[in-house]
């Protein structure tokens, strides 16, 4: 009898809380509508405000970009901005994949996306790009963010890149290329381990081999070729991008 009563009590409590939550939700909705009407424009136009807003949400423990159907999306229009950016990011990565094997610096991605958006579109910051990319991960296409130097490499193919590969990428970031001996001296690895990592990157098309370099062969990362930054996406590449 005691147990039954206890259970009943538990149910009542939960129902109560549910009712209380409905009430609070309504009140919160009203406050949010007010907030939204004041700041909707700012969210669209001001990237710093977007960062603050995102930080606020992270503090509370909500993800405003989780669904296009959420409060945040519907009232503030945050969603559309990032979801559309996601589409543009996918298209740039697809178009350039054959050049860089699916690795691209955040800088180059930024420049190409800006170009694609045209002169009259809203400006987009690197922070915006990173947030959009984090959301794209769930699509299973292998989107990843790899910190290198002071910036990031964005991966857009489902190639497996473990800690060993990442660390070699970071080493290569300084000059755009890396050699077996450099890996051995900087990371204190055996030759075999260094070679395995470099061969994997070659196979994935993320590294190119220069056997004619003075000294030993150099492994270059096309993603880091600064000369290629401002190269336009050719019409053939653009076709590859749109399914």
């Amino acid at each position: 009898l005691f147990q039954a009563k206890y259970k009943e009590r538990g149910t009542v409590l939960a129902e109560d809380q549910l009712a209380q939550m409905s009430k609070q939700l309504d009140m919160f909705k009203t406050n949010l509508e007010e907030f939204a009407s004041k700041h909707k424009q700012e969210i669209r136009k001001n990237p710093e405000f977007r960062v603050q807003f995102q930080d606020m949400c992270a503090t509370i423990g909500v993800d405003p970009l989780a669904s296009g159907k959420g409060f945040w999306s519907e009232m503030l229009g945050v969603g559309d901005f990032y979801y559309e950016l996601g589409v543009q990011i996918i298209e740039v990565c697809l178009a350039l994949k054959h050049r860089n094997g699916g690795l691209i610096t955040l800088e180059e991605l930024h420049q190409q996306v800006l170009k694609g958006r045209g002169k009259f579109a809203q400006d987009v910051s690197q922070d915006d790009l990173l947030r959009a990319i984090k959301k794209l991960k769930v699509l299973g296409n292998g989107f990843g963010i790899i910190p290198v130097g002071g910036t990031y490499l964005i991966q857009s193919v489902p190639a497996e890149l473990n800690m060993d590969h990442t660390v070699v990428l970071q080493l290569a970031e300084k000059k755009g290329y890396v050699t077996v001996n450099e890996i051995r001296s900087s990371l204190k690895w055996e030759t075999e381990r260094a070679k395995q990592v470099l061969e994997h990157l070659l196979k994935e098309g993320m590294a190119w081999l220069d056997t004619q370099a003075a000294g030993e062969p150099q492994y270059w990362l096309p993603a880091l070729f600064t000369e290629l930054y401002s190269q336009e996406i050719t019409p053939e590449e653009a076709k590859e991008a749109i399914p």
């Binding site: 538990g10 149910t11 409590l13 939960a14 809380q17 549910l18 939550m21 609070q24 939700l25 919160f28 406050n31 907030f35 603050q52 606020m56 503090t59 509370i60 423990g61 909500v62 993800d63 405003p64 970009l65 989780a66 669904s67 296009g68 159907k69 959420g70 409060f71 945040w72 969603g79 559309d80 979801y83 559309e84 996601g86 589409v87 996918i90 298209e91 930024h110 420049q111 800006l114 170009k115 958006r117 009259f120 400006d123 987009v124 690197q126 959301k135 794209l136 991960k137 769930v138 699509l139 299973g140 296409n141 292998g142 193919v157 489902p158 061969e199 196979k203 081999l209 749109i242 399914p243």
Partner: protein
């Protein structure tokens, strides 16, 4: 513009490049000058502008000359700008393109975008003031103009007050929202513990609340995946939208292709990646003519129910046999598929034992599995 000095453009010892942007025009206050198309570089010590057509033409401004900076949003036909307010030029300044100027500010006009990033970096450098702690070959110009200091203080106090107001309002929102979220989380936990005391209906309603708030759903019911009514509706819509495109693409599309296609078609009220995945997870249980499939590699695709990837493997084997061997790239071009899906098909064929791989630095190449057929 009279604060600028001619320079070689080379960085001094101890000076580091922070960011650079092409397509920047300089303006002397409100007036245009001949420096209309150049690369603007920000270093730890200076702002450097180099003409894109004539690399010899290069001018620089020490960051210590800057009082404060403002942003000017873009307009129709106008690029976004940064307005840079400057101290008067010091008497021992190196020669530059202008002897005098009637303005105490310049404008940087970003014709090829990049203004946001540049502004952020410039603000950072202005805060960090690294030029004071990292001496370089150049003489560091220290400005001790008391007049300018006083004027600056008034302006800054006004700005700080506005920021404080904003912060307070945001804090209020944060604490309200925090309460909401705490309550939601406690109920979510209660549901998890006592599944059965709360009705199915209420659970679904509650999940909608959570979805709306953007809270990750801790309650996963396998009957409907992590879906809600919204995702159910969405799944049905997708079945309608994707039928034809799928048929046009041989019955299979990657989820990223679907994401782009659907959102480009929508224009407004776009789907989040999570919405798409959650809706697709419900396709099979709703008995719709499409289904979600996840390959070993993690790649996710939508297939027509009528599509049979295993049958496609048989025709893939034929194609590879005809050519002797193929890489994913070559196969993709031959058949007219995306490289991503071509690779998945070849990998599946390998898994089923029809193909063998030759994995070398020249790439991954597939051959018919003669061990199977010729033993």
């Amino acid at each position: 513009m009279d604060r600028f000095a001619w320079t070689s453009g080379l960085l001094e010892l101890g000076e580091t490049l922070v960011v650079q942007q092409r397509g920047v025009r300089l303006c002397d206050g409100e007036e245009k000058v001949k420096f209309d198309s150049g690369v603007l570089l920000l270093s730890t010590h200076r702002l450097i502008w180099r003409d894109q057509k004539n690399h010899e033409c290069c001018i620089a401004l020490p960051l210590s000359q800057i009082v404060f900076i403002e942003e000017q949003a873009a307009g129709i036909g106008k690029s976004a700008k940064i307005v840079v307010h400057l101290h008067p030029a010091s008497s021992n300044k190196e020669p530059g393109p202008f002897q005098s100027s009637k303005y105490s500010y310049i404008k940087l006009s970003f014709k090829e975008h990049g203004q946001i990033e540049f502004y952020r970096r410039l603000s950072e450098e202005m805060t960090q003031r690294r030029w004071e702690t990292m001496p370089t070959g150049q003489t560091i110009q220290v400005n001790k103009d008391p007049q300018a200091g006083r004027i600056r203080a008034v302006g800054i106090v006004g700005i700080e007050r506005k920021l404080e107001e904003k912060r307070k309002e945001t804090d209020k929102n944060i604490s309200e929202a925090k309460e909401m979220v705490e309550l939601s989380k406690s109920i979510a936990n209660k549901i998890k513990e006592k599944q059965g005391d709360i009705t199915e209906d209420e659970t679904i309603r509650f999940k909608s609340y959570l979805l709306s708030m953007g809270i990750a759903n801790p309650v996963t019911r396998e009957t409907y995946g992590s879906g809600t009514h919204y995702h159910m509706q969405l799944a049905k819509q997708l079945a309608g939208i994707l039928q034809t495109p799928l048929e046009e693409r041989g019955g299979i599309m990657s989820l990223t292709e679907v994401y782009c296609l659907v959102n480009r078609a929508r224009g407004l009220e776009l789907l989040s990646p999570e919405d798409l995945v959650n809706a697709c997870k419900m396709l099979e249980s709703l008995k719709l003519p499409l289904r979600l499939r996840i390959f070993d590699s993690g790649v996710m695709v939508i297939e027509l129910q009528s599509h049979n990837e295993e049958e496609m493997v048989a025709s893939a084997l034929e194609t590879v046999s005809e050519k002797g061997s193929l890489t994913a790239d070559e196969f993709a071009k031959l058949v007219g598929m995306s490289v991503l899906l071509a690779k998945e098909r070849l990998l599946l064929a390998e898994k089923m034992g029809h193909l063998c791989r030759d994995d070398s630095v020249e790439g991954l190449r597939f051959y018919p599995n003669l061990f199977m057929t010729q033993s």
